[in-house]
Symmetry: C2
Subunit: 215 residues, 2 copies
Amino acid sequence: MSDRTRRIPEATVARLPVYLRSLAELVGDKTATVSSERLAEMAGVNAAKVRKDLSYLGSYGTRGVGYDVEYLAFQMSRELGLTHDWPVVIIGAGNLGQALANYGGFRDRGFPVAALIDANREKVGGHVHGVPVHHIDDLPRLAKDLGIAIAVIATPAGAAQSVADVLAEAGIRSILNFAPTVISVPEGTSLRKVDLALELQILSFYQAHRTPEGP
Amino acid sequence: MSDRTRRIPEATVARLPVYLRSLAELVGDKTATVSSERLAEMAGVNAAKVRKDLSYLGSYGTRGVGYDVEYLAFQMSRELGLTHDWPVVIIGAGNLGQALANYGGFRDRGFPVAALIDANREKVGGHVHGVPVHHIDDLPRLAKDLGIAIAVIATPAGAAQSVADVLAEAGIRSILNFAPTVISVPEGTSLRKVDLALELQILSFYQAHRTPEGP
DNA sequence: GGTTGTGAACAAATTCACAGCG
DNA sequence: CGCTGTGAATTTGTTCACAACC
């Protein structure tokens, strides 16, 4: 049975956006076709992995030629659900939340920040970089009105679990958590974590274990 | 041969900081010992994985009792190289770089931000949240003077590779890259990536593939 | 009795290597 | 001939299950 009929492995899903970014570059360069070799180089992986990953999407390559850049980009966007925008809310209008609201990379890649949410009523009512700040009690209504399916948690660790509970209540089933704590979400909710200091701690490990001469 | 004599797997290294965070909580609660079961719950993994992971550090548990919280935390800090602070530089004094400089989580977990670096001389000379802003040309000297081993790239994608090259030149061998692009670094340099929009794209995939009822 | 530490079994992910096709 | 698509082999990571030990 061919790979494309099986469920796409998590590791592959996590690389698709990297390929898509490379394809966007190639589209910009007006490059018509690309080999797995070249795409691998751009994405920082090896060619066998690219071919295996792409095979889960279908047989979109041509033997002896490579992949049609535009067609592959389209298929990949479709597979990733990126054919339309996904408005997101950011919970926590503190330092990090405000910076994320102002981060152009979200909007540019199809994730406009529709609202900032905070529990502190003093922050509510204003705008941060053009994004309105609402109270957490309004979240269920906002999620419905704005068609929000994805939330970003940018609160202190202590507040993250209760926020996750409110999100579950509001029917939001995709969460990106920046709070440095483990949160539990209902079965069926997708959760991704970004822990900034944790990444540095991992680097510290390898730094500490490097011999002076290396590696 | 026991696990602790083998090289620690990458997947385990990536989880050690999560355990350490849980242990720090337990220390705060004045909890003396902890079972793998309890630690697993706190870290959001299963107990077998905790025991296997901890076994790479050594036999620090007591059968029938569990792990001594303080002792394990100490051993883990030592293994992670967190017995002293690691000052970091952030390259790119834009939106994200400034937010990261102001992010308390770095300092709190032993990674004080010693300097912000920018290529734009108009930004240089001032301070952002108490952190001095220097020019990229001063990086080699700064790295040496401030004892900096870890750098954070928070520039636009287009500048990231040239920044990585400067970092290599300056002898910095641990890099956390926030720029949404693949960068290549010399053999022996540790590189971790955080791509904010990419995380949302991954969530989009699962959101798009979710059937209305489940799973 | 309770919990660790760890081989063994299992699963996921990566890489190889080459048949198949344009 | 060149490059994809993919089974097979390998490597890495996870989970099981239980002997060893306090």
